[in-house]
Subunit: 739 residues, 2 copies
């Protein structure tokens, strides 16, 4: 045991998150932190109103979105706030409120069976799933810590015996499926048990939280509600430290993606904070070379220019830096991870701080004008606990004004139950939001009318399928044939990443497992050139197969189609689905075309901007315009458009260029540069070894990309002759400009 012999009674209360010393400093000088004072006043107002309304501890009954669910959820948020208010203001009404509500919970809890909904793989008691019961305990253990000294010994005994300890046991011993996984749900479970253990100074609970249950009786075939596996083969560790070992890649990337990392950050950070206060010898912040700090910065960086998280895997769009969990992460990271002043500007955007010493420090330093701009940066995150399971790369470059173009390419591991079949897919953003969208999840979180707020059937049948993403689909079949098991067993691999060049950034990755006997190799280049108003995205998608297949390359352009350079036939009078399975059944086929030139071009309009994609096409390619919404009996899907390039071939290469070239303001009604500047996109040379692409502008300038497909050595020299011209370069990739 790491902590044997440590003195558990060294500190008094509060010491879990808020500390005695923190309270003293806040009380001494909160005038110097106006944002903190503002939060204090708002929180008082909010909690006072709740106290005024009275205490409601209803018998649990509803799903998320329903009354009892939302009421209990509100209760734990308010209790945590009331605890901090009691400490900071000294006003006993807050302590009384918490005590009285806790006592009602303590009376009710022993009477509860499992929640009547029985819809979860791990049904809770207060809520429909153990997860929410764990949320309750994470927040309520803080409230308990804050009023610990206010309570009588008898009150404490009653609460611990009837409520806290049984609840902690319920979500751990009685629910190993929930507690003993490597998963964000379990991180909440571990934190909940550990935090109440720290408050109660219950060594057994703390050990259980840190190291998991010894014998969980779980096997490798069990699934959770999202179709994810409970146990991963060959991985038997559990508990909080194992979560830190296995949930993150060495870069702090979280395999479920940023939407879930945001959610998981709370238990990770908050329990770590509690451990740092109460178990300093554990040096939790240094664990795995500072994995928590890396995770916080990776989280903040996986955002568009507005601070909205990339909706990788299952994710509801709109989640951002402003989330409650991110506010907590930013404040704790600022206070405890070296006072990085970029975090202050994020806090400024958030406009809120924690009502504790971390929030106080942030508010104080903001008031001192210490904030610096948070600069999101291009990076290739590795996925997998060992960093060897592919990854996610972000390319981003500014234009001449405040704008930005940002491409996110995903070649990561499957992402467990929340993973999508989207190997080598990408999404594109500008400073105002999505340009080429990732659909996200088919879910309306907590909105009762849509399936009780849970994942909708269309999440499996459409949102997770490959055709719902910007990546290649072979023979109308999703990657790994849509099997989570196969998905979890494989991953693409990084081929090459370089964000160090002045004029371009590049990411290149390969997949050999999504389809049998088939290799996919995608390269994205973000090119900056004075010719273009905005950085240009060049997409080279190579596929290698010994047999002929049908290849579909969808582009989920977001906006209204303005024009194409090809004639299409529109289904004006009758719409039918594009296919029968793997998501195709959800696409209405609206129009199709056969290209007659070497390049196909579509131009669309969104948020006052003109965008054009130009792609190289070959005779017999089919061009399809479709829209989501078919076979959607309950109107669960957004009716978003997609452009699909379809080709019958063995090995083949798709080249596309995406240009944000013009703007239009409906107030001025004057279009600026509404037409694409690209004249032609050609493949100069293409075989297994090398690919050369030429992009020509109407002004005569041209860019030639030269790439070695099988050799990533920087020192290798390459030379090929194309139509009597010699192209020679060193390293994987080179760019040549012709004027």
């Amino acid at each position: 045991m790491l902590f044997a012999g440590e003195n558990l009674v060294a500190q008094g209360h509060p010491n879990l998150i808020l500390t005695k010393a923190g309270v003293a400093e806040i009380q001494r000088s909160k005038n110097s932190a106006p944002l903190f004072e503002q939060v204090l006043e708002l929180t008082k107002k909010e909690v006072d109103a709740e106290i005024e309304e009275g205490i409601f501890v209803p018998i649990p009954k509803d799903m998320a979105g329903g009354y009892t669910h939302e009421r209990h959820k509100r209760n734990f948020f308010i209790l945590q706030k009331a605890g901090n208010l009691y400490q900071i203001t000294g006003d006993e009404k807050y302590a009384i409120y918490i005590r009285d509500m806790f006592l009602e919970y303590a009376d009710m809890y022993p009477t509860l069976g499992l929640h009547p909904t029985m819809r979860s793989y791990a049904t809770g008691k207060i809520f429909w799933q153990c997860l929410n019961d764990a949320n309750w305990l994470v927040y309520c253990s803080q409230a308990y810590d804050c009023i610990y000294d206010f309570l009588t010994e008898k009150e404490r005994q009653k609460l611990e015996k009837q409520l806290f300890r049984p609840l902690a046991n319920f979500i751990s011993i009685e629910n190993p499926k929930f507690f003993n996984r490597i998963h964000n749900h379990s991180a909440w479970g571990n934190a909940a048990v550990g935090m109440i253990g720290l408050v109660m100074k219950d060594e057994e609970l703390i050990e259980r939280a840190l190291y998991g249950l010894k014998n969980d009786g779980l096997d490798n075939t069990m699934l959770d509600n999202d179709g994810g596996f409970i146990k991963i083969e060959g991985q038997s560790k559990a508990g909080f430290l194992a979560q830190l070992d296995f949930s993150f890649s060495p870069d702090g990337y979280f395999t479920e993606g940023p939407y879930y990392l945001r959610y998981a950050m709370t238990p990770f950070l908050i329990f770590s904070k509690a451990l740092s206060n109460n178990r300093p010898n554990l040096r939790i912040y240094d664990y795995r070379d500072g994995i928590l700090k890396k995770a916080v910065f990776a989280l903040l960086n996986q955002t568009d220019a507005q601070g909205q998280f990339f909706p990788i895997n299952d994710a509801q769009k709109g989640m951002s830096w402003k989330a409650r969990e991110v506010i907590a992460a930013v404040d704790i990271a600022y206070a405890d991870f070296g006072k990085n002043t970029m975090l202050l500007s994020v806090a400024e955007t958030q406009g809120k701080v924690l009502l504790d010493q971390h929030g106080y420090e942030v508010a104080r330093d903001l008031a001192k004008g210490m904030a610096t701009k948070f600069k999101q940066h291009p990076v290739a995150y590795r996925d997998g606990a060992n960093g060897e399971q592919g990854g996610v790369a972000i390319l981003r470059k500014n234009n001449r004004s405040d704008g930005e173009i940002c491409a996110v390419m995903k070649y990561s591991a499957h992402g467990m139950g929340h993973g999508h079949f989207d190997k080598l897919s990408y999404a594109l953003y500008d400073e105002s939001g999505e340009v080429i969208q990732d659909y996200g999840a088919a879910r309306w979180v907590n909105i009762d009318q849509k399936g009780g707020g849970r994942y909708l059937p269309e999440n499996n049948t459409f949102a997770k399928q490959s055709i719902g993403h910007n990546t290649l689909v072979v023979d109308e079949t999703s990657h790994y044939e849509g099997s989570v098991k196969k998905g979890e067993a494989n991953h693409p691999d990084l081929y090459f990443f370089d964000a160090s060049q002045e004029h371009y950034q590049i990411i290149s990755a390969k997949d050999r497992h999504a389809y049998p006997n088939t290799e996919m190799h995608r390269t994205l280049v973000l090119l900056e050139d004075e010719t273009f108003r905005n950085p240009l995205l060049i997409d080279v998608f190579k596929i290698r197969s010994p047999e002929e297949h049908q290849y579909d390359l969808p582009l989920w352009f977001l906006g209204h189609l303005l024009s194409t350079n090809f004639k299409y036939a529109t289904q004006t009078n009758r719409l039918t689905p594009l296919g029968n399975n793997h998501g195709y059944q959800h696409l209405w086929e609206e129009a199709n075309a056969q290209p007659t030139t070497k390049n196909a071009q579509i131009t669309w309009f969104e948020r006052g901007k003109f965008f054009t994609m130009t792609s190289s096409v070959v005779p017999n390619d089919e061009l399809i315009l479709a829209r989501a919404g078919a076979n959607d009996p309950n109107f669960n899907l957004r009716h978003d458009p997609v452009f699909i390039q379809r080709r019958q071939a063995k090995s083949s290469t798709f080249i596309s260029v995406i240009e944000s070239h013009g703007i239009y303001n409906p107030v001025a009604e004057i279009p600026l540069s509404p037409f694409s500047g690209i004249e032609a996109v050609n493949i100069l040379f293409d075989n297994d070894e090398y690919t050369l692409v030429r992009i020509k502008h109407k002004n005569g300038k041209a860019w030639i990309f030269m790439m070695a497909n099988q050799d990533t050595a920087n020192t290798s020299t390459h030379k090929i002759t194309v139509e009597d011209r010699v192209f020679a370069w060193e390293g994987v990739f080179a760019l040549k400009i012709e004027k």
Copy 2:
């Protein structure tokens, strides 16, 4: 002649819009007006960059959106600005730039035939339509005025002989169809001819501008490009004063709607300003009891809370207070119409001012902190020159926080060529935008890719049709059978309007002409009650007909359908259009249902809010969910949803209640009040004389509306007995609350 004997040579130059005295005051004290200084700097930067680039006067060739069009358009804007810069800064480079460009125009103009596009009912020379040529002259006459004294006599002669006078004659004498109408196009024509006449002191042009062409040879059958009539029967006057007489209702309402009033305001105000400077005896600002001032305020008031114009008739959405024309209107109105400080807050929103003495005054008084909030108010505007052709009513009420619910009902005259077949239609807004939308026009103004920026075919076949609006359609046929001629000959009538009550506002209007032998009577009530988070909209639509018909009442709810209280059958695998004509061919039928209860409810979600419509239904009603986009070969339409209530009946009454009841933020993911509070909507009593409606909340409270349908006298007393209960009230309308 009104002006015979007036001394035309009293003032020097400039005196058209910018005046000598104005320049002197600006130069004396522009430091006291930071916004003005800012505009001055930005304008210098903009014009200097143009001067740097050089002068481009290309041979006219392109449609709107194309190079020559946009270049000539840019030229006139820059020339006007350069003129003011010359006067304000005294820097001759601006005068030289104007002179040189004018001389190039003077060399080119005599060589021009009609513009090669030949697409307009009145083709221009510099542009594809006379309208744009007139725009050019309105702006360029100001530039000419500013450099008049800088030019040599010989230069002036050349410009006037080769450019200005021929252009003025071309758009008047040579294009009576364009010049001699009552229409916003002609207002530009009149202003252009009058303004250049004032600069050149050409009495004949001034007279022509004010009083029109004497013999225009026009007849009543001629149409413009929008299908509007050139001449209105029984109306023979023309010229600028006739525009003032006939374009506006006595309240300043403009029959084409606010989008076009915004556009027309420039020639109206700017020529009036020029007349006020140069023909003070005309007292143009007092004309028709101050019609210009009324028009400016009516324009500003026909906006949602964001300052975006209601898209009545043909209108591109997004046009707002921030438009160039509105900036000019606000500045001139502030300076010349009594210094109404509410205008300053609009100017603040605009963030720009005119680069002349009006803009200077606004900026100066803004800097003094004199701005007061512009309060949009409920009002019923009369339409028609005599105010007797129906009108448009706006109901608007705030909620307890900063929110607003605003309903706009249209019972106006047809609105000429830009009118829609939308009698008694309405649209609903909240503080963040549209809730129940008016589709607006099927047009992408100036965007070449979409039909050269002109009205698209779907504007006629869909956007103008009745089913595209929130109003009743009988037998799948648009109002007036879609005939502009019939539309222009008729109009609905106001029945009752009252915005003076504390708890409700009401508008009620009748139509007897849209369908033969049929009367439609719609009443909207905006109800404020502490029970509701936001004011509630109640819609009572009575139809009276001796024969059985099919009635369709569409609701263009904007957002994503969340739920319904009825089971519907969705077309999951195949979509077909809802009908064949009158806009129905453009609707995909997505689902339909037969209600089994007395109320049909749909709930939708948009911009983080939950909305519910509850309507009374009868057995055999059909409920249809459809979406625009069918028979749209070029993807010109937005794929927006609509809910249609369909009923077979003779006389019948539709009751609907719309409630904005809940909110949801994707960052917090906690829905607040996601369910409607309405338990039931019933018709208690309904005949030709009286209609009684009861709306019941889940909390037990109920509201009873009692209305006399044939008697608007405030003093009448009414009494009816319904199931032994006696209802008695005085006046047209009464509200009774039951708890």
